[in-house]
């Protein structure tokens, strides 16, 4: 292999492998131990040549973790294409003046094989050292080179593992971004202003990297009122999200001059049943037509497709469940939809919510009506945002097992 000699690029490769100053590692210890035994030498080292030092990833038989780049022999070895062999350093012109050789260390024998990356950079060496002169046979040099390849495999493996982890983190981050974007596309960017009404909507996500199945929408109609829907598509993820999109847009398309919640749910049901084939998905929804009346009151007409009843909180503090349960949408064409109307006056508010909201507000196993009534009754006559804040607080205290969405419609 052509060895790249540009030192700046070589150092960049060393950095890329992120091996400098890492803690001892069993795999490298085994390799140096094996090398020492195999070649019957007192010292075996896996070295990485840094800008100004030679750092030892593993050092068998030598209690030193790093040395200066000068006079280290490994620094010379990394400049080579192949093994760098010094049989007797005390007579070899390349090394005889080296302080490691001439000094206390008394190094006589050095055989180093460069650790060469896939792209041709020598990071360091696997070397064996003795205080006696020696000569390796060709077979032994080949074995040392094989061991150096094992060291390099280990380094590549660690690099690949680190990259995989980084990639995984990156994928996870982008999945969260996709989920959030998708989620936002399924909710109105803002709740529209409707004359005479005060509307607040909130959404709580249980799991940020999954698109939830809950949704809500508020659509003004041409009669001066609006359609309000809160729903839940069973399941999560992109399949649920695509159904949520369908539900939202079918309802938006249906809410025109003359529409009724029961008619809209029936139409939605047939669209979903015919569209989804074998997906085994269904949706639930509370769909409310809010219409101003000449006498100043407001009529709310509620259609319920397998969804919890909206609660009407009167200005005096009493609670009413509005609506009559019809089946979920999207499962069978045999389902039929009904609607129930109620009259609201100034100070009354209506809350539409998903099961997830009720579950948390009421607590597991508690009687929902009692718990929710206790929370909502004292808020009679308050603005929608204040009611929403109280529900938010209750949701914040509980454990969100499912997504939760709700809309508060108050009559001014």
């Amino acid at each position: 292999m052509q060895v790249m000699t540009d030192e700046a690029q070589r150092l960049a490769a060393v950095r890329r492998y992120q091996v400098l100053d890492t803690p001892p590692d069993g795999a490298f210890e085994r390799i140096t131990t094996l090398a020492a035994r195999l070649f019957d030498v007192p010292i075996a080292i896996v070295s990485i040549v840094d800008a100004d030092r030679i750092w030892f990833k593993s050092h068998y038989g030598l209690d030193v973790e790093q040395i200066d780049r000068e006079p280290g022999l490994c620094a010379s070895a990394v400049l080579q294409d192949g093994p760098w062999l010094v049989d007797d350093a005390s007579t070899d012109p390349r090394t005889l003046a080296n302080p490691l050789v001439a000094g206390e260390m008394g190094l006589r024998f050095y055989a180093g094989v460069p650790l060469t990356t896939n792209d041709g950079f020598n990071l360091g060496t696997l070397c064996v050292i003795d205080q006696q002169p020696r000569k390796l046979t060709d077979d032994e040099v080949a074995s040392l080179s094989d061991l150096a390849s094992v060291v390099m495999d280990q380094l590549e493996l660690r690099l690949a593992a680190r990259r995989t982890v980084e990639l995984e983190c990156e994928l996870r981050r982008s999945a969260e971004v996709v989920a959030r974007t998708l989620q936002q596309s399924l909710l109105p960017t803002r709740v529209p202003d409707v004359d005479g009404l005060d509307i607040a909507a909130r959404y709580h996500v249980a799991n940020c990297d999954q698109v939830g199945g809950d949704f809500y929408d508020v659509v003004p109609d041409t009669r001066g009122g609006c359609a309000v829907v809160v729903g839940d598509v069973c399941g999560k993820g992109t399949l649920a999200a695509s159904m949520t999109g369908t539900v939202r847009w079918v309802l938006r398309a249906t809410v025109a001059d003359t529409w009724t919640p029961a008619g809209a749910l029936g139409r939605l049901n047939s669209v979903l049943v015919n569209a989804q084939e074998d997906l085994d998905q269904y949706a639930t929804a509370a769909l409310v037509a809010v219409a101003p009346v000449r006498d100043g009151s407001t009529t709310v007409t509620v259609g319920l497709a397998g969804h919890p009843h909206p609660l009407l909180v009167r200005s005096g503090g009493t609670l009413e469940r509005v609506g009559q349960t019809s089946p979920v949408v999207g499962w069978t064409l045999e389902a039929e939809y009904t609607e129930v109307a109620a009259t609201m006056r100034g100070g009354d508010f209506l809350v539409l919510f998903t099961d997830g909201t009720l579950e948390v507000v009421a607590g597991h196993g508690a009687t929902e009506d009692v718990a929710v009534a206790a929370l909502l009754a004292p808020l009679a006559g308050r603005p929608a945002a204040e009611v929403a804040d109280a529900l938010d607080a209750a949701l914040g205290e509980g454990v969100l097992r499912d997504d939760a969405a709700f809309v508060v419609v108050a009559v001014r």
Binding site: G213, D232, V233, C234, G235, K236, D280, Q281, Y282, T284, L304, A305, G306, H307, P308, T325, S326, P327, V328, W331, T332, A335, D355, H364, R401, D402
Partner: protein, 110 residues
């Protein structure tokens, strides 16, 4: 996720008596576990010779919308296989959700 799932009990058991099959499910049936119930019922139906299947959900402490979907899928698959399907329920989270979803009438009961 594994840790969380391990903490929550969930169990499916299948008993055969002639061509009558009883599938009992206990614990919490939600998005993460409904697949196991569907797989168990599919396996029973694929083995053939099923005259009737009772899905006994009296041991369920929790059921979400995905869990209800699994009950509906089991009902539909069983009927498609030409067998009777009945649900064994006790008042609790299952009957509550069936009522809210407006689908009590879609099931026959034991």
């Amino acid at each position: 996720m594994t840790g969380l799932l391990d903490e929550v009990p969930f169990e499916v058991a299948v008993d055969h008596e002639g061509d009558a099959v009883r599938v009992r499910v206990a614990g919490e049936l939600d998005l993460f576990r409904e697949g196991a119930l569907r797989a168990a019922v599919t396996a029973v139906l694929d083995a053939g010779d099923v005259g009737s299947l009772v899905l006994d959900v009296r041991g369920l402490q929790f059921l979400d919308s995905s869990g209800l979907r699994a009950l509906l899928v089991c009902r539909d698959r069983t009927k498609e296989a030409g067998a009777e399907f009945r649900l064994a329920v006790a008042p609790g989270p299952v009957t509550r959700l069936l009522a809210v979803a407006g689908v009590q009438g879609w099931f026959d009961y034991e």
